[in-house]
Amino acid sequence: MKFHVPDASVVRQELTGENIYTLTINSPEIAHEAQPGQFAHLRYGNSADPLLRRPLSINDVEREKGWVVFSYQVVGKGTQLLSELKAGDMLDVIGPLGHGFETDFCGKKVGLIGGGLGIAPLIFLGRKLALQNQVQAFWGARSRELLPRLAMGENFTTGEDVDFPFSSTVVTEDGSSGRKGLVTKILLEQLAADAQGTQATQGAQDFPERFDLLFACGPKPMLVAVAQLAREYNIPLQVSLESVMACGVGACLGCTIKGKKKGEDRKTQFKVCQDGPVFWAEEVLWGE
């Protein structure tokens, strides 16, 4: 069920990293309905430039308060204008949209692999999965400034430390926070160690067994690398894809990708906005 809320108010807007903002809006309908991996389509003002709505991944919800949280990086005119919104300003929001993560699992060991802004929606996912599964997270970013503060266990809205119901390993490319390197390299070490029955990564002591499922969200090169590892180690993986989109509701065919439905040989086309943004990695034809 999707809602159109033309008068969702901004609760708060905070700078939470290098050009990274966290926006909280009040929209009880969307907060109530949203599932991890879904997105919302935002419009602010009536200007023809920027013309299109902006799709933002839903990073978290506070259902009791009716709040929906997004994180985004300022990359152009649209996100610049979005970052200038203040508490009390109004947004026109359609959501929740798209097909989110499949979370109907129980008693599994699951791994979350988040890159940069892709970390935030996985925290929303992790909280849900952790109710019935063992969750271990790998958070990667180029540097500390590009790591969403939430990933460090800091709740910027309350200033309190967040106690995640799962363990997490932070990795930065420049070593400014956590371990140094690529998150995919750390993941590989863990998978290789699991396969040999040894422990490689801090925080993994509690569940030394193999992962049953993986979930990834982040830049495409990271997703491609994780998909390859998942294939090598034969672990089912769900990925959340990004795409430019215009309508967000399956009409314009601007976000089409090539893929293959699970268990079918025939190639097909998916709409990222409607069939995704979350897919099983094996459904995505990465090179096409």
């Binding site: 069920m1 999707k2 809602f3 159109h4 809320v5 033309p6 008068d7 309908e29 419009r43 023809a48 430039d49 920027p50 013309l51 299109l52 709505r53 649209g78 026109d92 359609i94 798209g98 097909h99 795409s243 430019v244 989109m245 215009a246 309508c247 967000g248 509701v249 399956g250 009409a251 314009c252 065919l253 601007g254 976000c255 089409t256 990708i257 090539k258 086309q269 409607q274």
Partner: protein, 345 residues
């Protein structure tokens, strides 16, 4: 998402009350007419025998087969719907990225992605038969014969009330604009479609020509019943950080408010030259935009990109047209057709 299809395809559910729309102002605003209007405003128009309850249509390729927007408003509040361009065989469309935003505009290079005429007849058109609303299907082909073949097959469907011949898509190598930029070729396509259907034939013209009037006259002479204009303008954008074109297909069609003055100008020029009705389109976002097209000479209007930005665009335009007519004491929207042509004299 699993219940989407079921809900979308069920006409009885189109006004889903779980769908929240707070935009009450648009729907409940009380209008005080400047002059007394005993009969109310007559928004109906006619396009070569196709009766529309109001002049607002969807532009092909922007409204899927209707299913994407049934959650937002009852389809029957539209004058007519024009569905996605259909070809004989399924088409995968162009490589990605297919979209690029420009100031007040949108570049696209979708490339006529569609499931092919058979799937359209079997799967996509039947649900539309449940609505009291003319359904017009946009058709395209690689060859003149393909246009004829698609026309024959679609004409057998009781759901289809008109065909819109696409000789103006800038995003396909064969057919499309290649047919729409030579008057003789365009006329051949139109004659072929006319020979293969009894339905009204609408011809969608490309703005990427030197003389739009010449094209319009050529297709009118070939038997076109209605003209649609404009299709998108060929354009491109470059990503200066990646140092390559934004679109995977390099060039694409520009739409959105940026192209409206060109569309209005072309409708004006064509209206001076042909007798058949015109569907005006290009950058329509509001009732004011629609009125410009109507006053330039269009009988009806179509909304495309505006729909992506504001899913209620069409409904708000219908309301806005009614308000305008009340305000100025216009009894029939059709009285405004070509008003600016008369005003300029």
């Amino acid at each position: 998402m699993s219940n989407r299809t079921e809900r979308d395809n069920n006409p009885n559910n189109k006004n889903d009350d779980c769908f929240v729309n707070h935009n009450k102002e648009v729907y409940n605003k009380e209008i005080k007419p400047r002059v007394r209007m005993d009969k109310g405003v007559d928004l109906s128009v006619e396009l070569a025998g196709i009766k529309l309850k109001n002049p607002v249509m969807t532009a092909s390729g922007t409204f899927s087969f209707g299913e994407a927007y049934t959650d937002f408003f009852p389809l029957e509040s539209l004058g007519a719907i024009v569905v996605k361009g259909v070809t004989l065989e399924p088409r995968a469309g162009n490589s990605t990225p297919r979209l690029g935003e420009t100031p007040a505009g949108l570049l696209n290079s979708i490339g006529l992605e569609n499931p092919g005429v058979e799937a359209v007849l079997k799967k996509y058109l039947p649900p539309l038969g449940g609505y009291n609303l003319p359904v017009i299907v946009n058709i395209a082909g690689n060859t003149i014969e393909e246009y004829g073949e698609v026309a024959v097959r679609l004409s057998a469907s009781p759901v289809v009330k008109g065909l819109e011949v696409n000789i103006s898509c800038p995003n396909v190598r064969e057919g499309g604009m290649a047919f729409g930029s030579h008057p003789e070729m365009a006329a051949k396509v139109v004659r072929m479609v006319k020979e293969n259907t009894d339905l009204p034939v609408i011809v969608k013209l490309s703005p990427n020509v030197t003389d739009i009037g010449e094209m319009a006259v050529a297709v009118e002479d070939a038997g076109a019943d209605v003209l649609s204009l404009i299709n998108t303008l060929l354009g491109m954008a470059i990503d200066i950080h990646k140092r390559k074109p934004v679109l995977g297909n390099i060039m694409g069609g520009l739409s959105g408010p940026a192209v409206k003055p060109i569309g209005v100008r072309m409708v004006w020029q064509v209206a001076e030259k042909v007798q058949i009705p015109i569907i005006g389109m290009g950058g329509i976002m509001t009732a004011a935009d629609a009125l410009e097209y109507i006053m330039a000479g269009a009988t009806a209007v179509a909304v495309g990109t505006g729909q992506f930005v504001n899913p209620y665009c069409c409904v708000e335009i219908v309301k806005g047209l009614e308000e305008y007519c009340f305000k100025y004491g216009v009894e029939r929207i059709s009285d405004l057709k070509g008003a600016a042509q008369r005003g300029a004299k």
